[in-house]
Every structure is written in C-alpha cells, then in structure tokens.
Assembly symmetry: C2
Homo-oligomer: 192 residues x 2
DNA sequence: AGGTAATCTTGTCAATGACTAGATAAGGTG
DNA sequence: CACCTTATCTAGTCATTGACAAGATTACCT
C-alpha cells in the first residue's frame, strides 16, 4: 500500500506486482471486488493492458493474491490480540473494518482460486489462530466446537452486517470497536 | 421459479419478467451474483439480447428485483417461524441455505439499487419481523438493542460462514438446521 | 376499427478478459 | 565482455458484454 505511482523510467516497471495489488486494493475499496477491470489496474500502474497478466494470470489471480495477503495480515492481527479472549473477537471486527478490501475478498471464495497453495496456507494459519482464541472462550470440554462456531459466527456476522450497512448503527457515528466489544461481552461474559 | 421455458408462440413472450428473474436465480445459484450476463438470461428465456432491458433497465435492475422478491420471501419465512424465539434464528439460516441465490444478493447492496422503493419496503418488512423476533429473546429492558444485534449477528454470521464453506461442517453431511439450533441454544438458552 | 402504450427485435459502440507473438531488459556463465 | 536464458512488458487481436437507439409487432382500451 505504498509504492503505487512513482516515475517509471524504462521498459520494466520494477515492482509491477506490488503496484497492481495496491491498485486492486484501492479499486476494491472504491467499488467492490468486481467494480473494476484488469485494464484499469494496468492504467493505474502505468503499464500496458496485458502487463498484469504476466504476474497474476487473470483477474482471479489478482484476487487470489489479495486473499492470500489478506489472510496473512488477518492472522497477524488476531495473533496480536491473543491476550484476552474478547480481544480476538474485537480484532476480527476491527480487521474487517480497517482492511475492508481484503476482508471482502477473503470470504468470497468463488472470486478467486480457493485451491491456491499459498493462499490456502495463509488461510489455515488464520484459522489456527482463530481456533486457539476460540478455545479460550470455553475451557470446558464438550461444547468446545459449538462455542467456537458461535464466537466465530458472532464476530463474522457482526462484521458483515456492519460492512454492508445493515446495522443502522454503522451509518451513525457509533464506534465499531465499542459496540462489537459490548455484543461479545453480552454473549460470552458468562461461563459457557 | 416455475415458468422458465415453455413454448413461446409469438412475438411477445407473455411473462418475460418472470422468466428472466427465474433465469437470473438459476444463474446466481450456479455461479454467483456476477457470474452471468444479461444476454445469457435473454438466451435462456429465448428472447433477443435486449429484451430484458425493457423490464429491468439494466443488470442492477434485475438484481434489485431479485433482492426485493428475496426480502418478501424472507419476511414470510421469518413470520412463519415467529412461534419460538429460536425458530426465527433457525429460519434465518434455513432461508439462507434454501434460497441461497436470493440471500447472496440481498445482503450485498452494492450490487443493486438500494434506494429502490419496492425493494426498501420489502427490506423494512423483513427488518420489522426480525426485530420482533429479537425482542422475544430478551424481554428484559435495557440490553434489548444489544441482544438483538447479537442474535442477528449470530444467525447471519453462521449463515454466511456456512454458505461460503468456511465451516468444515458445511462440507460434510452435517445438518444445517440441527447445528444452527444448537449454536443458537448454546448462546441464548439462558436469561439475557 | 383505430389509436395508444407496452413489448420485443435489430443494429451499434466502446469496454473488457483472455490470448498470442514479439520486443526489451536483467542476470548469470563462460 | 560476449552470449544466452529467462523474466518482464508491449502491441495486436477476438469473442463477449452492457448500454443505448430506432424501429417492428402486438395487446389493450374505447
């Protein structure tokens, strides 16, 4: 998200892969994961319309790279919040809001190549961190899987509803993190 | 979802609007809300490539109609399940799974005209039914709004994760309704 | 019967995704 | 330094698409 447009001297861009990814993230943030064209990314990066294909193959390739990078960043965020159990839930929501472009791609596998190895590895890393955080919510045995699903669904649903504007609160000046934490505590602040 | 392809005698289709909607629903179920073209819908309905435009204007118009119809059916489903409080949550998830094509459009307002009056009315009806169901979960005063958001987030998140295959359970032979009910009861089967 | 509006067709245009062939540069090896 | 291999990028092409315009056909109403 840094080196998008700089003077490009010669034939070779130097960092086209990064530039296209950044252009894609900007475009997704502006108009969703489908509201842009490969050729537009090429224009933004100042290269010919077919240049991005060399790095990503096709449009799905760009989105695969976005998802892979997204899951890496997501895992990092969740890890940093591994302290308290609510922290992971809050971090989940915060990531969705702060890195909306990544988030909107990550959980829409029909947009990209879900069998991409690099992407799958990143996704599994995030999944592992998530599962570890979930386990802290219910040290009891037995209902573990259920309460993990519950916590995940709660965080994911809140994030999704917030992002698509279904919650009236998201159109006011409410603070996402505050509200998310309140909801999580309401549900999980008792022994489960 | 009935009169898709029948012998079309003359110049006029007779029920093109319905036919295009059904074709859209089938196409969405097969390849998502963006994996098809207006012209393909026209081909499926057996009309010229520009015929659907008369009824829907453009692609967003088709998706607006899908969303409107979806919210109507959704409200119906929720109303039928208004008996027990968990029923609404289960019905939420069941609708998402049984009417996936509708659901995948409804909560993606960037795909259609979110200010369409007919669509907004249907959405608000569904919202009202949902709020009424949520109120039954917490007869207590005070935390009402929070627990409504929690219940909604839980059901929505579970449905979303199930649909996009993020839950390993959704790839096995697990029963959605059973699992959804278990999760809902785990979270809300105690005084809130 | 006649007119009006709704419905559908044909034709068109710029934009797009995907592909091909070829040009240019970078890096290593001798 | 010359050479070669490979990565990177450009230019050109094609079928498809969304959107629009103009005109043909039909239904409906009086």
């Amino acid at each position: 998200m840094a080196t998008t447009d700089q003077e490009r001297p010669g034939y070779h861009h130097g960092n086209l892969r990064r530039a296209v990814l950044d252009a894609a993230l900007a475009a997704i943030a502006e108009s969703g994961p489908s509201g842009w064209s490969l050729r537009e990314l090429a224009r933004r990066a100042g290269v010919s319309h077919a240049a991005p294909a060399h790095h990503f193959g096709d449009k799905a390739g760009v989105l695969t790279a976005v998802a892979a990078e997204g899951f890496e960043l997501f895992a990092d965020s969740l890890e940093r919040a591994a302290g308290d159990p609510f922290g992971a839930g809050v971090a989940y929501v915060r990531f969705a809001v702060d890195h909306r472009a990544y988030f909107e791609v990550m959980f829409r596998p029909e947009l990209y190549r879900a069998d991409d190895p690099e992407m799958a590895a990143a996704r599994e890393r995030a999944g592992a961190v998530l599962a570890a955080s979930g386990r802290k919510l219910s040290p009891s045995g037995g209902a573990d899987r259920l309460s993990t699903i519950a916590a995940w669904s709660l965080a994911h649903g809140f994030a999704a509803l917030w992002l698509n504007g279904a919650l009236p609160e998201s159109r006011g000046e409410a603070d996402v993190e505050e509200l998310a934490r309140a909801v999580l505590e309401l549900v999980f602040a008792r022994p489960v």
